[in-house]
């Protein structure tokens, strides 16, 4: 097995060998490696196939910008993770990784055929091709596209890992632990500011930490050595917190940032167990220092995507940090000074290399150093093609013309096993723009730089466009002193020698004798978009960068175009003949790198996913086999199946029992609002459609509440407990919104009213007993209470004691039966319920759930707000004009009841429906028509409630139908998938129109 690890470094622990599997084969690396560095040490460059053309692809970078080396980690159904960047994944014992987007394997991939038919699949191929025949879409095209779409495999079972969230507050947050970040953090913390420094890598130091060029020095030391001292020093500062393996995912307004800390991803399987995997930090910082550095740019030339072609600076990091060389015969292709650092470093380790430089000449100290070492440099030359299928083996270079637009002279073929490219540097302005900051374009080296800040933040170091060490340190110190309003002198005498110059010859699309149509000059490696695609998009009329991006999919892969966006912009600007700065950029959106769902949800999974509200009778319902329904956050008994009953049978039994003898419902979840104050009656007058001032003490009244637009909002019964004291009930789901709406009016429109609102939903438990025998049961519970119709009529209220505990009893009915609601302090709710059940035994008192409640009220034609209404129904639409006061001068929504739209006669109105076949039960939501033959079919309305009534022995339904009020007796049709159901419009009240049962 080849070994490309050629020297020892302090970051790789050669005493700790780590074995791992890649594509099923076992390899070895060392502690300190990333998966990428370990693969390269084993001579493996080919790590995947490209998305569209399935071209072989190799490792390109050493960080978050990696487009190619993304892999599937693990194979367990619950723990496997796709799209992990090998360049960031720290190696651990037992790691299993595999390549993605290839079948049967990465070396021989069937999809590779796409590469040869690539002229047939240009940009927008899918949009253009899969248009016709229309019938092909569903059966042929869509399944095929789905088969080839997506990267990697999702886990198929729940994630067993633990995730965590943490809120923190700091005076200063420093993002990035390179030279400038370390200086900023030190200055802030030494000035007594509570400071947090985060960096996504395992150790601090950025790219300077492995810098070992003798011509780049600080205070006469190698810059890396100087920086190590600084790191030692900041670790001693008590008010500085340092978080490594932590990356900022999002920068929101008001300096609120989200960071992801990786806690166990670098540990072997057995050490991960029972530990928190990742933590999401929610950070509020008074001030933020952005020191996120910059990313090296690739160069765009023909076949620039072969395995073995990397960014030049990454070759340097693999060598000096990991001790791994990416090849033995390396060519560096550059347009600036930084590749020379790589070259000199390689040369010192004995790796043969030559430089191809786009510039006509260059003369910085660094270049002189390279020349003096005898490194061959081709100035004014360009790489025009590369060769080698699974790995680069040679390339061609040509001389550039004077203006740089074409090539001249003869091709020179050079052999190599690795090519480094350096197109200069792109400042990482993601954080700045996410925070709302604007960008400026610097023409001389074609970079976007932070301009205006909308938050209290600042960018320092190379993310601010300062690329050489001298500039970085001087400017950082000055800017931080100003930004934090301090006067730190620590770096005043720092002596910096930097041999590099920021001199560059920028050409976005490199010239070539071959016509563009026959080249493969890749811009976005992961999504396979080429310079040709961008030009095609422009030719087809796309102008906006946002449109070109979407049409060509440039920058839309998991790497979000960290390496490609600038080139796409550059080529668009060149082609369209406009200045690059005027085009703007695409939007930088969070997250910076992909986040796991686990990190986002933290602990809020399983039973912590949502709050569950249970009534005090809940245990009894459980013991008695109830099936539950979720109503808002409440768990409500749905029905109580007995002896293996299904839902239908249980509901039929419960409904019949409630009307034949007695039924009991847990009504504790209804919203209850305590209303007190001298203006309470006036307040109710204004919020309900009906009149309240004359309601006697001890009486109850049903009320309908509208929105200001006249649409029904909520309903419920309100009881006058004393002169200035009411208890309002609301629907279960609407309780919170009603309270908030009432508070709104009280505080903002009618502050002069003396009214106080308190939510008491949880304070009282309610048992509702209905049916002809309910009075007898009440009598057993409250023997001293006079239950006669004279003393305790329908819609009235009494107080009494149950074993010395106060109860509020309302005689109100949602079923149409004689009915009582007993309210008791919630801690006694369970006992109350059990006593009711006990007292009701001899009367077959049957517990019933929400489904039976719905059925019983539908028999009586009572609406449920939210089921029979949907925010577009007025009281008149519901045939409830009787509840709208004509006398009241004003109430919420009154004026809207006679707007031109609300008085239309062809509005949808509530009606009853009876099926011609009384056994046929309609589906709720089903459409209603009068003629199935017309085209298009005229939709008249839909079914809102539908049940089989055991008490009437037939199917009943409520529906909203256009002009329904006038249609009584008319025949309509409910067209279903297999048949048409004939129905007749009826009254909404199906049972006991005379309300005799209320006083039975």
């Amino acid at each position: 097995m080849p070994n490309y690890r050629i020297h020892k470094t302090e970051y790789i622990d050669e005493t700790k060998r780590v074995s791992f599997k890649y594509d099923g084969k076992t390899y070895f690396g060392y502690e300190g490696d990333t998966l990428a560095s370990a693969l390269l040490a084993n001579g493996i460059h080919l790590v995947g196939r490209s998305f569209k053309y399935h071209r072989p692809r190799g490792i390109v970078s050493c960080g978050a910008e990696e487009p190619n080396a993304i892999c599937q980690i693990g194979s367990k159904k619950d723990l496997t993770e796709p799209n992990v960047r090998a360049t960031e994944l720290e190696l651990y014992e037992g790691l299993e990784a595999s390549s993605q987007n290839c079948w049967p394997n990465v070396k021989f991939d069937i999809g590779g055929i796409n590469n040869f038919i690539s002229p047939l699949i240009p940009a927008g191929f899918y949009y253009k091709t899969f248009m016709w025949p229309k019938s092909f879409w569903k059966k042929v095209y869509e399944p095929l596209i789905r088969l080839s779409a997506g990267l990697g495999k999702s886990p198929t079972e729940p994630d067993p890992d633990i995730y965590d969230h943490k809120y923190v507050h700091y005076d200063v947050l420093v993002i990035g632990g390179g030279v400038s970040g370390i200086i900023a953090a030190k200055m802030a913390a030494k000035n007594n500011l509570k400071t947090l420094l985060v960096d996504d890598k395992k150790i601090l130091g950025g790219s300077t930490i492995y810098q070992n060029n003798e011509s780049i020095k600080i205070d006469d030391k190698l810059s890396s050595k100087w920086l190590k001292n600084e790191i030692q020093e900041i670790k001693k500062l008590s008010n500085l917190t340092i978080k490594t393996r932590t990356s900022i995912a999002a920068y929101h307004g008001y300096n609120f940032l989200l960071a992801k800390e990786n806690l166990t991803d670098h540990l072997p399987e057995e050490k991960k167990k029972n530990k928190i995997r990742q933590r999401l930090w929610k950070i509020r910082a008074k001030k933020v220092v952005i020191a996120t550095g910059s990313i090296e740019r690739p160069l765009v030339f023909n076949n620039n995507d072969r395995p073995g072609i990397l960014l030049s600076n990454s070759i340097n990091k693999y060598l000096d940090y990991y001790g791994v060389t990416c090849g033995e015969n390396i060519i560096l292709f550059t347009n600036n000074d930084s590749a020379y650092e790589t070259s000199i470093s390689l040369h010192k380790k004995g790796i043969k290399n030559i430089i191809v430089d786009l510039r006509k000449s260059a003369s910085s100290e660094l270049i002189k150093q390279a020349e003096s070492l005898g490194i061959k440099i081709y100035f004014n030359h360009v790489v025009t093609n590369t060769f080698g299928y699974r790995k680069i083996n040679s390339l061609e270079i040509m001389k550039l013309s004077e203006d740089g637009n074409t090539t001249v002279g003869n091709k020179i073929r050079l052999s190599c096993d690795c090519l480094g490219m350096s197109g200069g540097w792109t400042p990482m302005v993601h954080m700045h723009t996410q925070s709302g900051g604007k960008l400026d374009f610097r023409d001389e080296d074609q970079v976007f730089l932070p301009k205006e800040n909308s938050e209290d933040q600042i960018s320092v170091g190379s993310c601010n466009g300062d690329f050489d060490l001298e500039n970085i340190i001087d400017k950082t110190v000055n800017k931080i002193n100003k930004f934090l309003d301090i006067d730190n002198q620590d770096y005043q005498d720092t002596n910096i020698i930097c041999s590099k110059e920021n001199d560059k010859r920028n050409i976005w699309l490199l010239p070539n004798k071959i016509p563009l149509g026959k080249t493969k000059c890749f811009i976005d490696f992961q999504n396979d978009s080429t310079a040709k695609d961008i030009k095609l998009a422009l030719k087809e009329g796309f102008r906006s960068i946002e449109h070109v991006k979407r049409y060509t999919t440039t920058g839309m892969a998991t790497d979000q175009g960290k390496l490609s966006n600038m080139h796409a912009l550059g080529i668009i600007a060149d082609t369209a003949g406009v200045k690059m700065g005027t085009l703007g950029t695409t939007t930088f959106r969070p997250p910076f790198t992909p986040l796991t769902f686990g990190t986002l949800v933290g602990r809020n999974v399983g039973k912590f996913f949502e709050v569950v509200r249970k009534t005090s009778m809940h245990e009894w319902h459980l013991e008695n086999n109830a099936e539950f329904e979720n109503v808002g956050q409440w768990k409500r008994p749905w029905y109580y199946p007995k002896n293996g009953e299904n839902m239908h049978d249980a509901v039929q039994r419960e409904s019949k029992a409630a009307r034949d003898s007695a039924g009991i419902l847990d009504a504790s979840t209804l919203g209850k609002i305590d209303i007190q104050g001298t203006d309470a009656s006036e307040f109710l007058n204004r919020v309900y459609t009906n009149a309240w001032s004359k309601l006697a003490i001890g009486k109850c009244r049903y009320g309908l509440m509208l929105n200001e637009d006249g649409m029904v909002y909520d309903d419920g019964v309100t009881t006058r407990i004393s002169e200035n004291h009411y208890l309002m009930t609301t629907t279960t789901g609407g309780a919170a919104n009603v309270l908030s709406k009432l508070e709104d009016y009280l505080q903002t429109e009618w502050p002069e009213l003396d009214v106080y609102l308190t939510s008491v939903t949880d304070h009282y438990s309610t048992a509702s007993i209905c049916g002809p025998n309910s009075k007898k049961i009440l009598n057993k519970l409250f023997p001293n209470l006079d239950l006669s119709d004279e003393n305790f009529p329908h819609m009235s209220f009494k107080e009494d004691k149950l074993k010395n505990i106060n109860c509020r009893i309302m005689r109100i009915s949602f079923t149409g039966e004689l009915s009582y609601e007993i309210n008791i302090e919630s801690k006694y709710g369970h006992s109350l319920w059990k006593m009711c059940i006990e007292a009701g035994k001899e009367f077959n008192l049957t517990p019933y759930g929400t489904e039976t409640m719905h059925l019983l009220r539908a028999e009586k034609g009572f609406i449920i707000v939210g089921q029979d209404t949907d925010g577009t129904m007025t009281p008149s639409d519901l045939q409830m004009d009787w509840i709208v006061s004509k006398k009241k001068y004003d109430f919420i929504g009154k004026r809207s009841l006679y707007r031109s739209d609300t008085i239309r006669e062809d509005r949808k109105q509530l009606v009853g429906l009876l099926t011609d076949d009384p056994k046929e039960i309609l589906e709720e939501g089903a459409q209603i028509v009068s003629d199935v033959k017309s085209k298009p079919i005229d939709m008249l309305g839909h079914v809102t409630s539908s049940y089989f009534s055991p008490n009437l022995n037939k199917s009943i339904a409520l529906a909203v139908v256009r002009s329904g009020k006038t249609m009584k007796g008319q025949k309509l049709i409910i067209p279903m998938e297999n048949k048409n159901i004939n129905v007749t419009v009826s009254d909404t009240i199906f049972l006991d129109k005379e309300n005799k049962r209320l006083n039975a």
Partner: protein
């Protein structure tokens, strides 16, 4: 995520609040006197300004009080906070 300075509780995270739209839209005292158009003006029409906007917020998961906020909708900066019934600050117009 905003930091909102509730006039009753002090600075709190936005997640404790709910927004109530444009402020200083007074409910007409005599709605029945209004034409359909005039009522629609109150009911539906909102300025939706890009720039300095006066809006209502409710500290719904806190003191439950409504109050007014001056916010620049172009950059989300909250410029001023004042209680219901108080006059809007005159320096933002």
């Amino acid at each position: 995520m905003f930091l909102i300075n509730c006039p009753f509780c002090g600075e709190r995270d936005q997640s404790e609040f709910s927004s109530g739209g444009e402020a200083h839209i007074v409910r007409p005292k005599q709605p029945t006197e209004l034409s359909d158009d005039e009522w629609a003006e109150y009911l539906f029409m909102r300025k939706n300004i890009k720039g300095i906007q006066f809006e209502r917020w409710n500290h719904v998961h806190g003191c439950r009080k409504w109050f007014n906020v001056v916010r620049d909708t172009s950059n989300d900066k909250i410029l001023s906070v004042y209680k219901m019934g108080e006059k809007p600050p005159v320096n933002y117009k």
